[in-house]
């Protein structure tokens, strides 16, 4: 067994054991971390495998959340149907948007996704017949699958982390298989990849769609958990947080989104202890990570190791 898989097994065990030892509010934080891990995984696949900066993830997160909210509260759907519709709609929209904009690269693609994220937020505000605008939609039923309701934090914890770990395993397989190989190759030498018969644009669209679907799934879980959605949860700031998840942990490692998601949920929580200065401190931490740790936190042990052996 490689060292990586040992780490993975240990982390999975730790995640399973946590709710039994944690305080209630820490369990709560861990549930949010799971949502972040799922949405961040999408962004991480785009960034780490394709080198694409996606600043529109909160838009897809919102689509999932609103589909669940509108579907279950207004239309009386079952939670599962709402979730399915949300993921499907997000995928279709990503396909329609991705087709033209994924022809761009680098900064321009990043700015294009930023523009889409902002348009998304505006539409969430404007279409208040659908989203409830600033008031939002409340009263979502707890998520239940085949009659089993995930209505306590502990149950939801296992659901959210079960889904997150399952998706991580799928993503892990993907990046280590044939498509993943091609995606990583694109980052190093795109012309050569084309020369080997790979349709790069098609590949990027597929990953973009997957990213959007993951965002929608996370949004839908989130909506059912807090039982309330409003525009404030789907702003560009949220997209930036989603982007930070893979960045902080090092985007090339799929499993990095777990420490990344923990970082963006726990660190701000700790920093609030410093009073009103906490947001500034969080910003500074980010700047330091980006400036000094190119491979993120997961690259840190290797970096330290290199320094010691040198």
């Amino acid at each position: 067994m490689s060292r990586l898989s040992l780490w993975i097994v240990l982390s999975v065990l730790a995640i399973c054991a946590l709710p039994f030892v944690l305080e209630r509010h820490s369990t709560e934080l861990m549930i949010f971390a799971a949502f972040y891990a799922i949405a961040g995984l999408g962004v991480g696949l785009l960034l780490g495998q394709c080198g694409i900066v996606n600043l529109a993830q909160a838009f897809f997160y919102g689509i999932g959340a609103y589909a669940s909210a509108y579907g279950t509260v207004v239309l009386g759907w079952t939670p599962a149907l709402g979730m399915l519709v949300g993921v499907g709609v997000a995928g279709l929209i990503a396909l329609a948007i991705g087709w033209p904009i994924l022809k761009l690269t680098g900064f321009f693609l990043a700015l294009a996704t930023l523009g889409i994220g902002i348009i998304g937020t505006i539409l969430f505000f404007e279409w208040d017949w659908l989203t409830g605008g600033t008031l939002g939609i409340g009263g979502l039923p707890p998520l239940s699958i085949a009659g089993f309701a995930f209505d306590t934090p502990d149950r939801f914890y296992f659901l959210a982390w079960g889904v997150a770990l399952g998706l991580l395993w799928l993503a892990h397989n993907l990046t280590n298989g044939r498509p993943g190989l091609a995606m990583r190759a694109v980052r190093d030498a795109a012309p050569a990849v084309e020369g080997l018969g790979v349709d790069i644009h098609g590949l990027r669209i597929k990953v973009f769609v997957i990213c959007a679907m993951l965002g929608a799934l996370a949004g839908s879980l989130f909506a059912h958990y807090v039982s309330y959605v409003s525009v404030e949860s789907f702003t560009v700031q949220r997209s930036i947080v989603f982007l930070l998840i893979p960045v902080i942990a090092g985007p090339r490692v799929v499993w990095g989104v777990v420490p990344g998601a923990l970082f963006v949920t726990l660190v701000p929580e700790w920093l609030t202890g410093f009073g009103d200065i906490h947001q500034m401190l969080f910003g500074l931490v980010l700047v330091v990570v980006v400036t000094l740790l190119p491979e993120g936190l997961t690259g840190l042990p290797a970096r330290l190791g290199r320094r010691v052996t040198r």
Binding site: R178, G195, I200
Partner: protein, 252 residues
């Protein structure tokens, strides 16, 4: 006789106001090794880029096995059997040598997103096949001891071998080699020469661009390009004796 594997008809291209290619026409017959020589700036790389689809020419037509491919994308040409290498090797620096070589098999395999994510039995089988074939190919090019090394850490000469091994994995009908000997030691060039002959013997048509006259000797037919025009065609000996070529190289 069947159609030539590659045909260029009246191809012309200009960057800004600069005419890089002016009415270039030649054909590469199926089988064997063809060469393209010319001084720096004569348009060799532009010609390669046009043939492999990285550049759409201003005018003219390109045919692969008799079929017009002028407007086809790079991947489409690759799938039709036209594979190339680059003047500065474009290897995948963050990936291992084994992964680099395995990438060559992309077109010959089919596991999609869903199959890969859920690790179906077919996908596993295919992945094992990819690994086995990559291993065989690395063995053949003497890269096996390096299989776990990150390709970006290799010296230039070995990067070039990785690129050629990868191209061979892609199963080309026509292989375009752009300056394959630059950065290689004398011994490595000799080995490269043997491999090129071996590949040709397997039935792969090769079009070779090189400055290395020693290496160009492997070519059965050489085209001399000078300021965007083909000025001579023949064996290497013919070319070297051709007065127009001598003028171009010595007098120009």
């Amino acid at each position: 006789m069947s159609a030539p594997i590659l045909e260029l008809n009246s191809v012309a291209h200009a960057f800004g106001g600069l005419n890089v290619l002016r009415d270039v026409s030649f054909a590469v017959p199926r089988g064997g090794i063809a060469g393209l020589i010319g001084p720096n700036g004569s348009g060799k790389t532009t010609l390669f880029n046009i043939a492999s689809g990285y550049l759409v020419p201003n005018a003219g037509e390109i045919r692969l096995e008799g079929r017009a491919i002028t407007r086809d994308s790079v991947p489409a040409r690759s799938r039709a059997g036209l594979i190339r290498t680059f003047q500065t090797p474009k290897i995948f620096g963050h990936m291992t040598v084994a992964e680099n070589v395995a990438m060559g098999l992309y077109m010959k395999t089919r596991s999609g997103f869903a199959a890969t994510m859920f690790r179906g039995p077919a996908e596993r089988r295919e992945y094992r096949r990819i690994e086995a074939e990559a291993e065989a190919m690395m063995d053949r090019f003497g890269l096996l001891p390096l299989s776990k090394t990150r390709a970006g850490e290799l010296p230039a000469g070995q990067q070039r071998l990785v690129e050629i091994a990868r191209a061979r994995m892609a199963g080309p009908k026509l292989l375009l080699l752009d300056e394959p000997s630059s950065g290689l030691s004398h011994d490595e060039v000799q080995r490269l020469r043997r491999w090129i002959e071996e590949l040709a013997a397997e039935g792969i048509t090769i079009l070779l661009v090189s400055h290395d006259m020693g290496l160009m000797n492997v070519c059965q037919r050489v085209h001399a390009l000078y300021f965007g025009k083909i000025i001579a065609i023949g064996t290497m000996a013919d070319i070297q004796a051709d007065p127009a070529v001598r003028d171009a190289y010595l007098g120009g």
